[in-house]
Symmetry: C2
Subunit: 222 residues, 2 copies
């Protein structure tokens, strides 16, 4: 080592270039998608704009969808971490509530992020293949999230209850938020809708584990 004796301080030229290329692809992709539409933009054009070959694009992102939704994976990982760091006095319901709140905070935090995620949300609402890919990412993460929640609260929730809780809360927030947005709701209204949805869904699980799931006659309970 010639330049620095402190471990891990300078990322190295190679790493820096890689990161720059990656960022260029992301930026140019979003710009082009907004400028001329997702389907009208080809991968080759994105690569051209970022000054790399088409083949190189696919060594950074596995698909055209991924270049736009890479950040989704990150926020989902954050949610996983939130669950893993359960505070000792959290009830499962509290924990899930904080997951939702944290996720919201993260996507709506800075103004710049709010602008970007608004554009991306807009694209997801109008382009089916993006919606499908987003739903896939979200679903696959929910599986991990359910396992994590069960691990974090092994005494209160069995795996099925944890699944129902995670699936219920995320499903409720997802649909309510989306429908509110579709109706032309402002960011504040969307946030409020999501909050109410989470509240409704979480109300169901507060009853669980207190020995008072009464059974639902309409479901053919035995």
């Amino acid at each position: 080592m010639h330049y620095s004796s402190v471990m891990g301080e300078v990322p190295g030229l190679r790493e820096r270039k890689k990161l720059r290329t990656r960022q260029a692809l992301i930026t140019e992709a979003l710009r082009l998608f907004l400028e001329k539409g997702y389907e009208q933009t080809t991968v080759s054009e994105i690569a051209m704009a970022a000054e790399v070959s088409t083949r190189t694009f696919f060594s950074y992102f596995a698909s055209k969808e991924e270049v736009l939704l890479h950040h989704v994976r990150e926020s989902l990982d954050r949610a996983l971490r939130t669950v893993a760091e359960r505070r000792s006095d959290d009830s499962p319901a509290d924990l899930l509530a904080r997951v939702v709140a944290t996720a919201f905070e993260a996507t709506m935090g800075s103004a710049e992020m709010r602008r970007d995620s608004a554009s991306i949300t807009q694209l997801m609402m109008t382009v089916p293949s993006l919606r499908a890919y987003g739903l896939l990412l979200l679903f696959d993460t929910q599986r991990e999230l359910a396992e994590a929640l069960h691990q974090a609260c092994p005494e209160e929730l069995d795996l099925i209850e944890a699944s129902a809780a995670v699936g219920g809360v995320i499903g409720a927030v997802k649909l309510a938020g989306f429908i509110c947005l579709r109706r032309g709701g402002s960011p504040d209204e969307v946030a409020e809708a999501s909050r109410r949805a989470a509240e409704i869904a979480i109300a169901g699980m507060r009853a669980v584990g207190k020995g008072e799931t009464p059974g639902d006659p309409a479901l053919g309970n035995r």
Copy 2:
């Protein structure tokens, strides 16, 4: 009219052929998918097996995914009808419970259907693009379902509450069922898991509209 004076009795040769072709495509597709895997099967092979041109395949199904998941759309439409036919003495929760029960009945009804849907489910679990497409269908239907539920119960539920209810229940059932299945659960166990999940999710909405949504401090309620 030469053959029959009763309106709508005989579907006509053209219609019958179309139906036969459609069925042949569906059957051959499923057979090939199971025989050699989804990704390993090309649309051209399916068309060949059903003795039509590749081009014709795409005049019956818009995508390779659709030939496998055409029935999903049907069962989702059935769910929509169930909501539209609300009985006067149903609470929203009862109604949603019946939607879930009816959907289950429909997919698990006959032995033949159970066998087919087991194969299809297996494929959906292992093939990402199928999972994504299925999730997309389900999500888009949920939007309609939420609107229908709101229409059916305009006094009890506003649109956001209806969204939360639909999203919550379906999200819970979906994830719990899937996770149970992944763990090698038997059909009975999956059914039981889904039932419990629906119960938990529906418990949340029984509280709604009774003036007793207490607010959740962890969600930053005002």
